[in-house]
């Protein structure tokens, strides 16, 4: 590895203000990691360049302008652990030492007297404690004379090793070795292990928000349900949506409020609604969405939670025009986050009677405000998933402020990724697609930004959904005659167990 001899020289040749950092990611939800980072860089208006990134590795190299920028960027991240100043790297320890010496020898005096600690991180590999010590000691030329402090040191230096993805056989060897190590069996020589393919020497700069996953753990949450989204992905979604202090967020399918608490955690005043009032009211024993906000002490960011059908939402300023005959603005939210129903457990429903000629039940504003119809569960009629998506896109286009974001979770069948096309809307720019794979199916998180001004041109793309139009009574009747199953390709597939249909012969 050819290291340059510049002051604070980057390992690669970066233009002057840029400095090189190492991000230590969690090795989970790999397709979400880079989009989360990019989303945060945009949110904080931070210039960056990703120099090295692989989904197979927890270590990524990134160029940033300052330690301050590095700290800010990582501070809200959920999928990374921490960020470090990169002092040197190489494929062997000899290379690392050469790199560290040429890049940082002019900095060593800064750390001569402070307290410090050395840490060690190995990915896919393992070292015995005694060998780690030897490796740490090999850096003694930096000449730090301050006290070594295991707790709260002034500076933390970390050696990181990245091993090529290992086979099961290797993993078993490691496991066996670990046991031997504990028993202090001298017969095994750890240096016989494969060597890492990349080594980094780093100085700690800042920690991520990963620890709050624990705080919001569903297991410890007052009110949850079968639809609750885990804390980690809810928080990541909030990061993708750019929520923050002074902003308004809304979940139109709020359910038990997983996204709502995540948005409020990051400072947004959060609103939510659901077609099913029971979700919001919660249980008789006082477990409710509101009680979650109380549990997490984020009540000051509790906007309102109410009962409403997204396909006929009360949000907006209908009918009336503002002074001067202009339409009243309906751009209210900075972020819309949701996980719409795809009707696996229950056919997708909207409020209204099965017979579309009968008038609709008025929408009930509920939860806090009492209504005479409080315990009335309005009849629901089946609805197609595509039409629902269409409604969501249109709703986001009218209700998001310029540059506001829409984050939406959608299912997709594994062996048939195109089962649901990526919805498009001319006023919404697709930012990223993150995929979460399960055993038999997968779902993805789509993030969009509302363009500052309305776009004239519809997106020319076969994936575009037509603009929502009022159905005629006849077509509605014909559609409703079909079953919910027939309306929803995903639901149908789910119950078919994702089997390939039998061939014709």
């Amino acid at each position: 590895m050819a290291a340059t001899a510049d002051s604070l020289a980057p390992v690669s040749n970066l233009p002057p203000p840029m400095r090189e950092y190492l991000i230590h990611f969690a090795q989970v939800h790999e397709t979400f990691r880079k989009p989360e980072l990019e989303s945060l860089a945009k949110l904080f208006n931070i210039d960056y360049e990703i120099l090295q990134y692989s989904e197979k590795s927890p270590f990524a190299r990134i160029a940033l302008k300052s330690n301050e920028a590095a700290k800010t960027l990582i501070s809200r991240s959920i999928l990374s652990k921490a960020i470090y100043e990169l002092w040197g790297t190489g494929t062997t320890y000899d290379e690392v030492h050469t790199s560290v010496k040429s890049r940082t020898s002019h900095l060593w005096h800064l750390y001569k007297t402070c307290s410090f600690k050395f840490g060690f991180e190995s990915f896919n590999g393992m070292r015995t404690e005694s060998y780690k010590k030897k490796l740490i000691e090999s850096f003694s030329y930096v000449g730090f004379d301050g006290p070594i402090r295991m707790k709260n040191p002034d500076e933390l230096f970390v050696i990181m090793e990245d091993y090529e993805a290992t086979s099961m056989v290797d993993l078993e060897r490691f496991a066996a070795l670990n046991i031997d190590e504990k028993a202090e069996a001298p017969s095994r020589n750890p240096t016989h292990l494969d060597e890492p393919h990349q080594i980094y020497f780093t100085r700690f700069i800042g920690k991520s928000s990963r620890a709050i996953i624990e705080t919001y753990d569903l297991k410890k949450r007052n009110y949850i349900g079968t639809t609750s989204m885990d804390a980690e992905l809810s928080l990541v979604t909030a990061n993708m949506a750019h929520v923050g202090p002074g902003k308004l967020a809304y979940d139109p399918f709020v359910g038990t409020g997983s996204f709502a608490v995540a948005c409020a955690h990051f400072g947004a005043v959060t609103f939510g609604s659901d077609i099913d009032g029971r979700m919001i009211r919660g249980t008789k024993s006082g477990k409710s969405l509101r009680s979650n906000f109380e549990q997490y002490k984020i009540m000051d960011r509790y906007g309102d939670m109410f009962v409403s059908d997204l396909t006929n939402s009360p949000l907006g300023r209908f009918g009336a025009t503002a002074e001067g005959g202009k339409k009243r603005s309906e751009q209210i939210f900075d972020a819309i986050i949701c996980d719409p129903p795809y009707g696996v457990r229950e056919g997708l429903k909207v409020l209204g009677s099965r017979d579309p000629s009968r008038p609709k039940v008025p929408t009930i504003i509920d939860g806090v405000a009492q209504h005479t119809l409080k315990d009335f569960v309005p009849p629901k009629r089946p609805y197609s998933f595509d039409k629902m998506l269409n409604d969501i896109m249109n709703f986001a286009s009218t209700h998001l402020v310029p540059n506001g974001r829409l984050c939406i979770w959608l299912p997709t069948a594994d062996e048939d990724f195109n089962e649901f096309s990526v919805p498009a809307h001319r006023n919404l720019k697709l930012e990223s697609i993150c995929v979460q794979n399960f055993n038999k199916w997968s779902r993805r998180l789509l993030t969009y930004t509302r363009y500052e001004v309305d776009q004239d041109q519809p997106v020319v793309d076969e994936e575009v959904l037509p603009d929502a139009t009022e159905e005629t009574l006849d077509t509605a009747k014909a559609r409703l005659a079909r079953t919910a199953d027939a309306l929803n390709p995903f639901r149908r597939k789910y119950f078919e167990g994702f089997k390939t249909p039998p061939s014709e012969d």
Partner: protein
């Protein structure tokens, strides 16, 4: 329900969507509750352009609050300035919002009306008869 929310919603019954009566909805037999929430001028500055002022004045009046007839003009606060602001022991944000005394009073009132007051009991209807 908060007055903030009331400023965002209309009557969603299909038949009245095009009627000028569908927004704003009017409170009836409203019972109020109030609870103190940290003062957040950044939030208020973001909210101001999104409020329908005449509707807010109307609903506030119905609940016994008086707001000026015209929307206060405020310089837009930046999130960076807000991030640098300190907080008082009550959690209030302590920052110079760059407004005069009169507007500051309106802001405090807005905070009370929008963020600290909730209608806990009552009905909403299309006409205020």
């Amino acid at each position: 329900m908060k007055l903030l929310t009331a400023n965002f919603i209309s009557c969603a019954v299909k038949a009245c969507k095009s009627s000028s009566l569908s927004f704003p909805l009017h409170f009836k037999d409203a019972e109020l509750a109030s609870k103190s929430v940290p003062y957040n001028p950044l939030l208020l500055s973001n909210l101001l352009p999104r409020l329908d002022w005449p509707a807010l004045v109307t609903s506030s009046k119905e609940l016994g609050f008086t707001l000026p007839d015209t929307k206060p003009e405020l310089p837009r606060l930046s999130a960076t300035a807000a991030a640098a602001a300190t907080t008082t022991s009550d959690g209030d944000m302590n920052m110079d919002s760059g407004v005069g005394e009169e507007d500051e009073k309106t802001l405090r009132m807005l905070h009370k009306v929008l963020m600290e007051t909730e209608v806990v009991e009552g009905k909403m209807s299309k006409n205020n008869l």
